[in-house]
Amino acid sequence: MTRSRHLLGHLYMAAFLIYMFVPLIIMAGAAFNDNRLPSVYPWKGFTWRWFQELFADTTLWVSFANTLWVAVAVVVIAVPIGTAAAILINSIAGKVRGFLYGVMVAPILMPGVVIGISTLLFWNSMGNVTGSDFILFNPGLHLSVLGQVSFIASFVMLLVLARLQSFDPGLEEAAMDLGASNSQVLRRILLPHLYPAIAAGAAIAFFQSIENFNTTLFTRGTQNTLTVYVFSKVRSGITPTINALALLMIIATLIAAIWYEVARRRKERRLAALERAQD
């Protein structure tokens, strides 16, 4: 009985993986079909044409560069903010903590569309109030950065806060007793303990930013990021260049995944060997 249920489990797992990957494979396949419309069927012959058009598409590469700049800016701003907020909220208790926590988590639960619109309205009205035409107050990618930071900082905060739970404050006490300065306590004791969470936060911030569409669409002004460009392409009539782009992204992901998997297995083997050596 249990075994047949386990078999069912294996089958379901396999079916789910097929469900996850078949759309991606079909999309990748359409990149090679010599058909003006993106499709794998009917197959009109193999071509590299869409890749050539992709590389000739300068708007796309500008959008891609914009996406990377925005992502880097988001990481640079959101990681310190999220870390500081986690340290701060960890040191207070009671009602204030509950309130602050609610405000910090709320942006995650808020629709990205609303975040984009409120960011746009706020900075624009600041411009109106001050009567200034300073670049910060007009729509543009800098507002996209600020909009994205407002909720991405929440992710960083949650990761760092979780990591803080396993921190032993006694270490800081010991450091201070031994004459460490304030900044040394932070730099040498607390931050090294938090680095894994900070690194994970930075990675999540980077990819959340690259993925972001809803917030960016309303704040970007006339500039493009990759997701916005893909969106406008999809709306205005698509050619398989988008599929060629998708295939490149999938390949990049696969390479990263394989690299990660190989590194993980190597580490596992090394640990196993170490254990054997100790026995």
Binding site: R5, H6, G9, M13, L17, Y19, M20, P23, L24, I26, M27, A30, V40, I81, A84, A85, L88, S91, G102, V103, M104, V105, P107, I108, L109, M110, P111, V113, V114, I117, S118, T119, L121, F122, N124, S125, N128, S150, A153, L158, S181, N182, S183, V185, F207, E211, F213, N214, L217, F218, T227, V230, F231, V234, I242, A246, A257, Y260, E261, R264
Partner: protein, 311 residues
């Protein structure tokens, strides 16, 4: 707070406070207050802002109840404001997507947490997370290719003899929102899977075995032991999937039918096509209300706290 001062000194503490204050005030609280305030003001040319016509009113919200169109609910024909209709459709179909995602995810989450060989688990998790790294627009676009009239799905089904003639999937077989729901489910199912997996994983296997020893059937084990234990994960997954679905703008635009409308598209039209930011703000505020209600209902339904959902 005094702890912070003692450990890190006034300088660093001030930096922590300033960073947090900048985030919460300039990026979260004040923008939302601005949004709320703007939603009550009329849409005017720049020269008239602050002028005699710039007074607070509920006119922007009233637009939500304009333009009645015919609709049919449970077989009853009614006249309903067009934007309200869109709003209700968005809520309903996002709810359906959430339920479908749960049904798809729960068995798999259990399988990953309790059945599979722990050695192959990291590889499986990695495999499952690969689609997450491919942009949402492209994942929806993949389904556009599959569902299109001359596409592979029709070709395969007709070729196998399941269908006699190709079907216009995107226009919907059951509802005009079929394509959107298929796209949303595919795009967001993993946001349901991972929280539930996390919750089931923390369940002690002994509890399952004890239930087995006491003669519980497999469905009793799930109903009385595993499901109650995974409540926070389910709540978190449901909130995530519902919010992402209701808030999605990409999927409904990539996979529309001739008569589908998503509430985010309505907001986008006010903001970017009519350039009427004030009405856009009013509609956004309605959306925030919806989201707060959903979060509260889920918290009440599953008896969980906010910090259990946001993980």
């Amino acid at each position: 707070m005094s702890e912070l001062l003692r450990r890190y000194g006034p300088g660093l503490t001030l930096i922590f406070v300033l960073l947090t204050a900048f985030w919460l005030l300039m990026l979260v609280i004040l923008p939302n207050i601005t949004l709320f305030e703007a939603s009550f003001r009329p849409y005017l040319p720049v020269t008239e802002i602050g002028g005699p016509r710039d007074v607070y009113s509920l006119n922007n919200y009233a637009k939500f109840l304009n333009n009645a169109v015919p609709a049919s609910y449970f077989g009853i024909d009614v006249q309903i404001p067009v934007h309200l209709k869109t709003f209700l459709a968005t809520v309903t179909y996002s709810g359906v997507v959430t339920i479908v995602c749960f049904l798809l995810s729960y068995p798999l989450a259990y399988y990953l947490a309790k059945v599979v060989n722990p050695k192959s688990l990291p590889t499986l998790i990695l495999l499952l997370s690969i689609p997450l790294w491919v942009s949402e627009a492209l994942r929806a676009f993949a389904w556009y290719i599959i569902l299109t009239f001359n596409g592979p799905l029709n070709a395969v089904l007709v070729g196998l003899g399941v269908l006699e003639a190709p079907v216009r999937w995107q226009n919907g077989v059951m509802t005009p929102y079929d394509g959107i729901m298929i796209g949303l489910t595919y795009t967001y199912v993993l946001f349901m899977l991972f929280p539930i997996y996390g919750a089931i994983q923390s369940l002690d296997r002994n509890q399952i075995e004890a239930a087995e020893d006491l003669g519980a059937r497999w469905w009793q084990i799930h109903w009385r032991v595993v499901l109650p234990h995974s409540r926070p994960g389910i709540a978190s997954g449901c909130v995530m999937v519902f919010m992402l679905s209701a808030g999605s703008l990409l999927v409904p635009t990539v996979l529309p039918s001739t008569s589908s409308n998503w509430f985010t598209e309505t907001i986008r039209q006010w903001m970017l096509e009519s350039q009427d930011w004030n009405t856009g703000a009013a509609y956004s505020f309605l959306y925030i209300l919806l989201c707060s209600v959903v979060v509260m209902v889920v918290m009440w339904l599953f008896r969980v706290k906010l910090n259990e959902i946001a993980k």
